[in-house]
C-alpha cells in the first residue's frame, strides 16, 4: 500500500510542477531558516569543542551586588571571591578560574593584529576539551611561576607565523613576549567562556588576586563528577552565597550569582530575574517563534494541499468505493504530505548547508564553524515530519469526510 501511495505522490508532484515548486520552496525555505537557527543554537550552547560535556559543566559569569541604599552593580565576579569561595566548593570535581577576554594588539611586520587574550589557570585545560594541533597546555609549574608562555589558536598561528610550526617560537602580544607552547583549533566567539586567540597563565594578572570585593573580571568554570551532581553543586553554591551574604559587613546587601550552563546563563542575562533563570520563559519564546515561523507556510501548504487534494476527489471516491476507509484516505494523504515535506527537507538541508557555509566564510561570527551535524540533522528531520503532519492532517481529514458518491462526482462538499 505504501508503495502505491508513494508512486501516486511522486506522480502528483510531477504533474503539478508549479504547486510542487511553491510547496517545496515554502517547506525548504522555512526549514532552512529553522535549521540555521538550530545550528546556531547548537554552536553556541550544544556540546561542541571545547565544551563537549555540557551536561557536566557550569559557568559562573555574573555577580550582582544590591546594596540596601538602593544602588546595585553587576558584572563578572572577582578573582578574590572565586578563589576563596568557589574553588573551595566540595561537590565539583574541578573548578577553574579564568578571566574574560581582553582585546590587545600585536604587530607583524608593522601590521596590526587585533587579538583577544584570556588568562587561565591549569584546571581550565583539564576541564575543557580543546583540540591541540601542536604542543600542549601549560602546566601547573608554569602557572605557579607566572611563566610567559602562551597557547594560541590556529588562525593566530597562521597570521603570525605563516603555515609553519609555532611551538617553541615567540609571539609578542601587547608588548609582552610569550613562548608558544601549544596551538589549538579556533574556538568560536560565541563560546564566551572559552574563546580567545591567545591564552596565558592567570598568574600574569596576579595584581588582581588580592583585590577584595565581589565584582571583577573573572569567570569560574565548574566541572561536575557526573550530570546528577549538577543540582548538588548549585545547592552548595547557593548555600555558600547565602552565608557570605549573612556575614556581609553591610547589612541588607544582597548577592546574586549562579553557576549556570551556557544556555541558562544566556537565559538569565536576557530574561531572568531574582533566582529565576528564565529558562522556561526562553523555551516558551523559542517555541513560540518557531511556531509562528512555521505557521504561515503551514497555512499556505494546507490551502495548497486542499486544492491539490480536491482535484483528486474522484480518486478518493473510487478508493472508497473499493474499500478504503476514511482512515485509509487520511493515511494516504499524510504519507503523501510527509513525502513532500521530506523532499522539502532534503532541499532545506542543501540550502542550509549553503547558507551555513556562507556565514562561516563571511566571518560575521568570529571562528564560526557552523555545520549540519547529526543533532541538527535530527532536528531538521523532526521539524520536516511535524511540518508534514500539521499541513497534511487537516486537508486529509476534510477529504476523508467526503461521501464516496459525492467524491466520485467531483467533491461538491
Amino acid at each position: 500500500m505504501l508503495k502505491n501511495y508513494l508512486k501516486i505522490a511522486w506522480k502528483v508532484l510531477l504533474r503539478r510542477k508549479f504547486f510542487t515548486f511553491i510547496s517545496l520552496f515554502g517547506i525548504s525555505f522555512t526549514l532552512m531558516v529553522l535549521m540555521v537557527a538550530t545550528s546556531l543554537m547548537d554552536h553556541t550552547f550544544g556540546p561542541q569543542m571545547p565544551e563537549r560535556e555540557t551536561d557536566e559543566l557550569l559557568f559562573v559569569s555574573m555577580m550582582r551586588e544590591e546594596h540596601s541604599e538602593g544602588y546595585s552593580s553587576s558584572g563578572p565576579a572577582s578573582y578574590y571571591f572565586l578563589d576563596r569561595n568557589v574553588r573551595t566548593l566540595q561537590t565539583p570535581e574541578q573548578v577553574s578560574i579564568n578571566s574574560m577576554f581582553f582585546q590587545v594588539n600585536s604587530y607583524i611586520n608593522n601590521r596590526k593584529l587585533a587579538l583577544d587574550i584570556k588568562y587561565t589557570d591549569r584546571e581550565f585545560w583539564d576541564i575543557l576539551d580543546f583540540e591541540f594541533l601542536e604542543g600542549g597546555a601549560f602546566g601547573q609549574q608554569e602557572v605557579a611561576g607566572a611563566s610567559r608562555v602562551a597557547i594560541i589558536n590556529e588562525t593566530t598561528r597562521n597570521k603570525y607565523f605563516g603555515e609553519g610550526k609555532a611551538v617553541g617560537k615567540t609571539i609578542e602580544v601587547d608588548q609582552v613576549k610569550y613562548k608558544v607552547v601549544g596551538v589549538v583549533k579556533d574556538v568560536p566567539v560565541l563560546r564566551l567562556y572559552s574563546y580567545a586567540d591567545v591564552w596565558v597563565p592567570i598568574t600574569l594578572k596576579s595584581q588582581d588576586f588580592n583585590k577584595p570585593g565581589y565584582r571583577g573580571l573573572y569567570f569560574a568554570t565548574i566541572k561536575a563528577q557526573n550530570p546528577a551532581d549538577i543540582p548538588n553543586i548549585k545547592a552548595e553554591y547557593a548555600a555558600m552565597l547565602h552565608e557570605i551574604e549573612r556575614q556581609h559587613p553591610v547589612k541588607g546587601t544582597k548577592l546574586s550569582s549562579f553557576p549556570d550552563t551556557t544556555l541558562e546563563g544566556f537565559a538569565r542575562t536576557l530574561l531572568g530575574g531574582g533566582k529565576k533563570s528564565g529558562m522556561g520563559f526562553l523555551y516558551v519564546i523559542l517555541a513560540g517563534l518557531a511556531f509562528l515561523f512555521m505557521l504561515l507556510p503551514t497555512i499556505n501548504l494546507v490551502s495548497i494541499n486542499i486544492s491539490r487534494i480536491m482535484e483528486r476527489s474522484s480518486e478518493i471516491g473510487l478508493r472508497k468505493a473499493f474499500g478504503a476507509t476514511s482512515s485509509n484516505i487520511i493515511g494516504q494523504f499524510i504519507v503523501e504530505n510527509i513525502f513532500l515535506t521530506l523532499l522539502g527537507g532534503i532541499l532545506g538541508f542543501a540550502l542550509s548547508a549553503a547558507v551555513l557555509k556562507l556565514i562561516n566564510d563571511s566571518g560575521v561570527i568570529v571562528y564560526a564553524n557552523l555545520g549540519l551535524n547529526l543533532r541538527v540533522f535530527a532536528w531538521g528531520l523532526l521539524l520536516s515530519l511535524i511540518f508534514g503532519l500539521i499541513s497534511g492532517v487537516y486537508p486529509a481529514y476534510r477529504m476523508s469526510r467526503l461521501k464516496a458518491v459525492e467524491a466520485l462526482k467531483g467533491g461538491s462538499k
Partner: protein, 234 residues
C-alpha cells in the same frame, strides 16, 4: 444477496426537495444479471449508489446477504464494499497516474492478508480475463475507451466480488466496443456466477441480461425476465 426494502431517497436543498427514489423494493439474488433502464434523472444511478453502499437512503433498509446495513459504520461499510462489491463506472474512473496493473490491484490494497505477490498474480489473471495482458505497464491515457473500460472491469473483478454494479458501462463506447464489454460482463456472470446489476440506456444491451427493471420518476414501473436472455449465445 442484495435486498432493498421501501427505499426512499430525497435530495433536500434550502428551497427544493427532490424525490429521487420512492418506495423501491427489490431483491437481487445470487448469480443474476439484472439491467436497470429508464430516462435520465429517473433515479437509476442513485439506486446503484445505494445498492453499492456509496450513498445512504433517506428511508428504507438495504440488506446484504440478509443483514441490514443501515447502522454500519464507515469501517464496516468499507469492508463490505471491499469484500462483496465491485464497481464499473461509465467514465471508467481509472487513476491516470498509475499503470494498468497498479489500477487493477487497487481493491486488494485495502484487503488484509493478501501478499504483494498474490495481488500481482490476481491482477494479471484479471487482466487476462478481459484480454489486456499485453497492456499491464501502460497508463490509462495510452488506452482506448474500450480498453479503459476493460481495465475497470478487471479492477472490479480482482477481489472476486459477489456482485458487480455497473453504471452505464458501455455509455461512452461505440457499438463494437460496447458489445465487447457486454460480452465480458455476460461471461463473468455465466462462468463465474457473479451477480451483475447494470444501469443502461441501451435496450439491446438490456435485453441480453436476465432481468430488466424499468424506472420512471424515481419509481419502479416494471420488473420482468427478458425473453432474449440466452445462455448458449455467449
Amino acid at each position: 444477496m442484495i435486498t432493498l426494502k421501501n427505499i426512499e431517497k430525497v435530495y433536500q436543498t434550502k428551497t427544493i426537495e427532490t424525490v429521487a427514489l420512492h418506495n423501491v423494493n427489490l431483491h437481487i439474488p445470487k448469480g443474476e444479471f439484472v439491467s436497470v433502464m429508464g430516462p435520465s434523472g429517473c433515479g437509476k444511478s442513485t439506486l446503484l449508489n445505494i445498492m453499492g453502499l456509496l450513498d445512504e437512503p433517506t428511508n428504507g433498509i438495504v440488506e446484504i446477504d440478509g443483514l441490514p446495513i443501515s447502522r454500519y459504520k464507515d469501517k464496516e461499510l468499507a469492508h463490505i464494499r471491499n469484500q462483496k462489491l465491485g464497481f464499473v463506472f461509465q467514465s471508467y474512473h481509472l487513476i491516470n497516474d498509475l499503470s494498468v496493473l497498479d489500477n487493477v490491484e487497487l481493491p486488494l490494497l485495502y484487503r488484509t492478508g493478501v501478499s504483494a505477490a498474490e495481488t500481482r498474480r490476481l491482477a494479471l489473471t484479471a487482466l487476462e480475463k478481459v484480454g489486456l495482458s499485453a497492456r499491464t505497464k501502460h497508463y490509462p491515457t495510452q488506452l482506448s475507451g474500450g480498453q479503459r473500460q476493460r481495465v475497470a472491469i478487471a479492477r472490479a473483478l480482482i477481489g472476486q466480488p459477489e456482485i458487480i454494479l455497473a453504471d452505464e458501462p458501455t455509455g461512452n463506447l461505440d457499438s463494437v466496443m460496447g458489445e465487447e464489454i457486454m460480452n465480458i460482463l455476460l461471461n463473468l456472470n455465466r462462468h463465474d456466477g457473479t451477480s451483475i446489476v447494470m444501469v443502461t440506456h441501451d435496450e439491446n444491451m438490456a435485453m441480453k441480461t436476465e432481468r430488466l427493471i424499468r424506472f420512471f420518476d424515481g419509481q419502479q414501473v416494471s420488473d420482468a425476465k427478458t425473453s432474449a436472455y440466452d445462455y448458449q449465445k455467449v
